[in-house]
């Protein structure tokens, strides 16, 4: 009965989205006869948000009580699982994650309908209509081909369980974070379509869109950082980025959102780059949908697996074609009427941001090509692999110049600046880069990419702080703080990546209890190996005493863990974190002669990758707070002015 309630709520949501679409179109027409219909757009969005939340709540409840008569629960849950993983299991599968997607989308739609008052009314109606149109496609997908509430009869005695790799607290929150990000970009997309329909591509439009882009971008950043750290400690081999198509699927929207964020800033502050911002808005959401398609269609497992059961994949592909194709056609039709906007010189903040935008788009193009190309050739039965040896150098062609511009760009003034003004700072940065480059090269002679990475990290770190020079820090707007922190985060993450790549040390040994293992500055002693067991797993656990440069030993406990439902083996690594890096210890199998495989890595500054990523997200969050508080203050001021007018009118009348 409860499951059916969820399903009914979902169908009602779809109907409301239909209503919202019609109302939006009526509002776009703007004729007085349809005003009554147009008035329904906002309430339709609000009720939809509530019903969708109810529907998702129902799914959570079904997982919480492990209702095995529901197919999805039986397939993905198990009554012995810890509660938190029962709940996260509700979106750790295809149907549940799509329900989460539409729920977040409905909540976002409700939020714009409730709060957004800055857009011209017709643009607002067109935006709500576009939002409903996108939502309708996803409701159709969910209801027609991925019903999460489908019943199973007879109900089995026990469920299949959740893949143990997914039974991890980090991963429980990883997919929702990414989905929130994807959906934030869908809002930006709807606003873009609305503005194109009414030809209102203005700075005000960019200001309305900006918090959504910022929010989406912050969440995508966190999602990628969390996913990378999860892969790092869960897979047991110390890698943190694999250029895996699943990772690329999240990276591509992030790249597009980063470009969009900067371009929207130019539009908001300077009324320039109008068409470019609109195009990026379309591309950013396209990449979100493409990411969903890649991950959800099964095409990554095998093109042929996709061809055998193409229903879901084709559905998403059709949606992608309709929305993106439609938006691009609209863009082509309207691009001519969207004036270019204000002009600027090469030596200006805008000029630097254009370089940033073009470079980010180029990187996006490379990642897109490298991700899709193997799928394309596989369709013709030619199997090729595209991996780090391709992505690293080819993307570096664009990343390296972009980082140079990142170090210098924020120093430039808007519209028009002269090189003479920033020459001292520029020369200081170049000098710093040269010193670091030579110093590191002479000291350790590492490979070219990490060497350039460390050099540029130093330049970006200093360059990102230079805009603080000569400013009153207490009166500096939050948005500028956000920029400084995020750019500094780029430097921190870059340094971590380069340092780990260049200086990590690896030790793989077969050890007896009592053996001493050395890796870099660490000395480890295998003190013992014992079996341990948990609620749904059994492990072999090593006790490994490690000491840094002969200091106080620290006891660590890497495990080789075996889950039984479904049967899976995982490696639970032990990490010892210092400010300057991490010791990474993993336990493998026992060899014939009774020795244990132990894998140790010393990874200098590896944690800086994720600290940097979090700083980037923090910068975005601070900028978002800044933008929102300015908006709130403006609203408050407007209300006061309006009140005063009413007062004056009343006094005049009385």
């Amino acid at each position: 009965m409860i499951a059916e309630l969820g399903l009914v709520a979902l169908w009602l949501c779809a109907a409301l989205a239909g209503l919202q679409l019609v109302a939006g179109i009526a509002g776009l027409q703007g004729s007085a006869g349809l005003a009554g219909l147009a008035m329904l757009a906002r309430p339709a969005a609000l009720v939809q948000a509530l019903l969708c939340a109810l529907s998702f709540g129902v799914l959570l409840y079904l997982f919480a009580v492990t209702d095995l008569s529901v197919n999805l629960v039986a397939m993905n849950s198990h009554s012995d699982k810890p509660m938190i993983f029962k709940l996260s299991g509700s979106f750790g599968n295809h149907e549940g994650s799509m329900l989460l997607w539409v729920t977040v989308m409905a909540l976002a739609g409700g939020l714009i309908a409730a709060l957004e008052r800055r857009l011209p009314e017709r643009t607002m109606m067109a935006t709500l209509g576009a939002q409903a149109f996108v939502a309708l496609g996803f409701y159709a997908f969910l209801l027609l081909s991925s019903n999460p509430f489908e019943r199973l009869s007879p109900a089995p005695a026990q469920g299949n369980g959740l893949n143990p790799l997914l039974q991890d607290i980090g991963l429980a929150f990883h997919p929702p974070t990414l989905y929130f990000g994807y959906v934030g970009l869908s809002v930006a997309f709807s606003i873009v379509v609305g503005a194109l329909l009414t030809r209102q591509v203005t700075p005000e439009f960019a200001r309305v869109m900006r918090p959504w882009i910022l929010g989406a971008w912050v969440l995508l950043t966190i999602g990628i950082v969390a996913g990378s750290y999860w892969a790092y400690y869960e897979l047991g081999w110390g890698g943190w980025w694999f250029w895996d198509p699943v990772e690329n699927a999240a990276l591509m929207p992030w790249l597009a959102a980063t470009a969009l964020l900067h371009s929207a800033s130019v539009l908001a502050s300077r009324d320039a780059l109008r068409a470019w911002t609109v195009l990026l808005g379309v591309i950013a959401f396209s990449m979100s949908m493409l990411g969903t398609f890649l991950v959800r269609s099964g095409i990554l497992t095998s093109v042929h697996a996709f061809a055998v059961d193409p229903e879901r994949g084709s559905f998403i592909l059709a949606l992608l074609t309709i929305y993106i194709g439609g938006a691009l056609v609209l863009f082509a039709l309207r691009a001519g009427t969207v004036a270019e906007g204000e002009r600027f010189t090469v030596m200006s903040r805008e000029g630097a941001l254009v370089v940033n935008n073009v470079a980010l788009s180029a990187i996006l193009g490379i990642v897109l090509l490298g991700t899709l190309y193997p799928l394309l050739t596989e369709a013709f039965d030619v199997r090729v692999s595209v991996g780090p040896p391709y992505f690293n150098p080819v993307s570096a062609i664009f990343v390296l110049p972009m980082l140079v511009v990142l170090a210098v760009g924020p120093l430039l003034h808007w519209r028009r600046d002269s090189f003479a003004r920033i020459r001292p700072m520029f020369l200081a940065l170049v000098g710093l880069g040269a010193v670091v480059l030579l110093g590191v090269w002479l000291w350790s002679g590492i490979a070219i990419l990490p060497l350039l990475g460390i050099t540029l990290a130093a330049m970006v770190a200093v360059g990102s702080l230079l805009p603080l020079r000569g400013r009153n820090l207490r009166r500096m707007p939050l948005a500028v703080w956000g920029m400084v922190i995020a750019h500094f985060g780029v430097a921190v993450a870059l340094f971590g990546m380069a340092a780990d790549t260049a200086y990590q040390q690896e030790r793989l040994v077969a050890a007896n209890v009592g053996d001493i293992i050395e890796v870099g500055p660490w000395t480890g002693t295998l003190a013992g190996v014992v079996p341990v067991s948990g609620p749904n797993w059994q492990s072999i656990e090593a006790s490994l005493a490690v000491s840094y440069k002969g200091g106080e030993p620290i006891m660590t406990h890497p495990q080789a863990r075996a889950f039984w439902s479904p049967p899976t083996e995982t490696s639970e690594v032990a990490l010892v974190t210092r400010w300057n890096g991490q010791l990474y210890a993993a336990l493998g199998n026992q060899a014939e002669d009774g020795r244990w495989q132990v894998r140790l890595w010393w990874k200098p500054f590896v944690t800086w990758i994720w600290y940097g990523g979090l700083l980037i997200a923090l910068g975005g969050a601070i900028a978002l707070m800044g933008r929102l508080s300015v908006d709130l203050r403006r609203r408050w001021a407007q209300r006061k002015i309006a009140d005063r007018k009413v007062d004056q009118a009343e006094r005049a009348a009385g």
Binding site: N163, L300, V354, A359, A362, E569
Partner: protein
């Protein structure tokens, strides 16, 4: 997450010979380094660019799959025997096809991978020219 799912699926569904192979102890250099750090570094760099054929998107340097272990053993013993990384890669490609190498080569079926970045570079230069150079004299 999906790559390990796939490993499990493949291991469970693979035909008997592989299952038999799984029960053998791993080859000596699957989980053991070469004594010469220089050769080991060479081998490790190479292993990071070879695909584990039983996993989804993992290199043989990042995988617990038995087959990845066997391939690591092959790479280490061949490098130790004095083969160059390029020769070892070629040997593996001859056995398993281009799919095993993460480093695509310019061939009839992969040339677009190398032409496209050049096109992107040209396009980027073109856009930047259009956006920036044209505006040396901003509208008055």
């Amino acid at each position: 997450m999906r790559r390990l799912l796939l490993v499990t699926a493949l291991v469970l569904s693979s035909p008997m010979p592989l299952a038999a192979q799984d029960s053998l102890p791993p080859a000596p250099y699957a989980y053991q380094q070469l004594d010469d750090p220089e050769l080991e570094a060479k081998a490790t760099d190479l292993m990071h660019t070879l695909r584990c054929l039983k996993c989804q998107s993992q290199s043989i340097a990042d995988s617990d799959a038995p087959m990845a272990g066997d391939m690591r053993h092959q790479v280490r013993t061949r490098i130790a025997a004095g083969e160059s990384p390029a020769e070892v890669r070629q040997w593996l490609v001859d056995r398993y096809g281009e799919y095993v190498s993460y480093q695509p080569r310019v061939t009839a079926s992969t040339w677009p991978l190398f032409v496209a970045p050049l096109l992107v570079l040209l396009l980027a230069a073109f856009i930047l020219r259009g956006r920036l150079v044209k505006r040396k004299e901003p509208g008055k």
